[in-house]
């Protein structure tokens, strides 16, 4: 007997729905869109965390050096969890480390970095989170990697951890830093 396509259609639709749902299960609904990908970082200017030092501006992220931009806060627990990985990144030659202190006060942030160790070359103070919004930030910590030609190549939402370092951050840095 010849099977009519009409009869197997429900089975095909069923399988398609199951495959679609299975793919959906693997997606993270908390991960938001990343319109900055392969774009220049947004224009901004922030006062330095330590008073008296020059402002942090977009130009500081586009100096021809591969740059890590990390949004952190002294009140943010996951930031403490990822801190050892930032210190590890700070050891890499030819990598510029920029910190942006998010929704935080100067005194607590400075005390935090004194206690945990400071991985950053430059630190800006985004007290009212306006620069965070420019970057499409959904919370802290978030980490961005900018290539030597000034394009945002990677964004990690949430704390850095071993698998993220091994699979995403370090391979990209190896590719970007000759």
């Amino acid at each position: 007997m010849k099977i009519k396509p009409f009869y197997i259609a429900p089975a095909i639709i069923f399988v398609a729905v199951i495959v679609g749902l299975y793919i959906g299960l693997g997606l993270n609904p908390k991960e938001t869109a990343f319109p900055l990908y392969d774009q220049s970082p947004p224009e901004f200017s922030l006062p330095a965390l330590v008073e008296g030092q020059p402002d942090l501006t977009t130009a500081d992220l586009m100096t021809g050096q591969v740059t890590v931009v990390n949004f952190f806060a002294s009140w943010c627990a996951p930031c403490r969890v990822e801190h050892p990985y930032l210190l590890q990144l700070a050891e890499i030659d030819g990598l510029k480390m920029i910190g942006i202190d998010y929704r935080d006060t100067r005194e607590t942030a400075i005390a935090y970095l004194q206690q945990a160790g400071n991985p950053f070359d430059l630190i800006g103070n985004d007290a009212n989170a306006r620069v965070g919004i420019e970057w499409g930030l959904a919370g802290v910590p978030e980490t961005f990697i900018i290539s030597a030609d000034g394009k945002v190549k990677l964004r990690i939402q949430g704390p850095l951890n071993e698998p993220i370092m091994k699979r995403q951050v370090l391979p990209l840095l190896e590719e970007l830093i000759p």
Partner: protein
């Protein structure tokens, strides 16, 4: 029992206050109303399915401040939506826009109705085709039938 009514009114009125509270609202009530309407259409990213107007999250308060600033600067609603989408993607809009990644979602009800109508029409046509294939009895069959049930019983 004089105290009962005011207390009841307060308790019943609690949900009225269930939205983000800001210190710096716009002085012009018309502008503030416009800003609030826009906030209702923007999603609070850390609360998943609340608008920034509903939410008390810090992030929602930050976004509300931006909306107020833009309204004050004379931006209209579509300009503010564009500003937000440029930074956060379409997900920040409570109503997903129709575009290349969502047209399937928006068109699905219409597609399903058309498919359903197709299935129904196929079944109806098949039923009619079967009805037409009934052929009258042959002379031999008529004779056999008569011997079995007798002529009187035929309707």
């Amino acid at each position: 029992m004089k105290w009962l009514l005011p207390v009841l009114i307060l308790v019943i009125a609690l949900p009225v206050m269930a939205s983000g509270v800001d210190e710096n609202v716009l002085a012009d009530p018309a502008k503030e109303a416009e800003a609030r309407a826009i906030m209702e259409d923007l999603r609070c990213l850390v609360c998943q399915n609340q608008s920034i107007d509903d939410s008390n999250a810090d992030m929602a308060a930050d976004l509300r401040a931006v909306v107020r600033e833009r309204v004050l600067a004379g931006d209209n609603a579509p300009q503010i939506y564009d500003y937000m989408v440029a930074r956060y993607g379409d997900w920040i809009l409570m109503r997903p826009p129709v575009n290349e990644s969502t047209w399937v979602l928006w068109l699905m009800p219409a597609i399903l109705i058309v498919l359903g109508l197709l299935v129904i029409s196929v079944f109806l046509r098949r039923g009619r085709a079967q009805a037409q294939t009934v052929t009258p009895l042959s002379a031999q069959e008529e004779a056999d039938l008569e011997t079995v049930i007798g002529k009187d019983h035929r309707g």
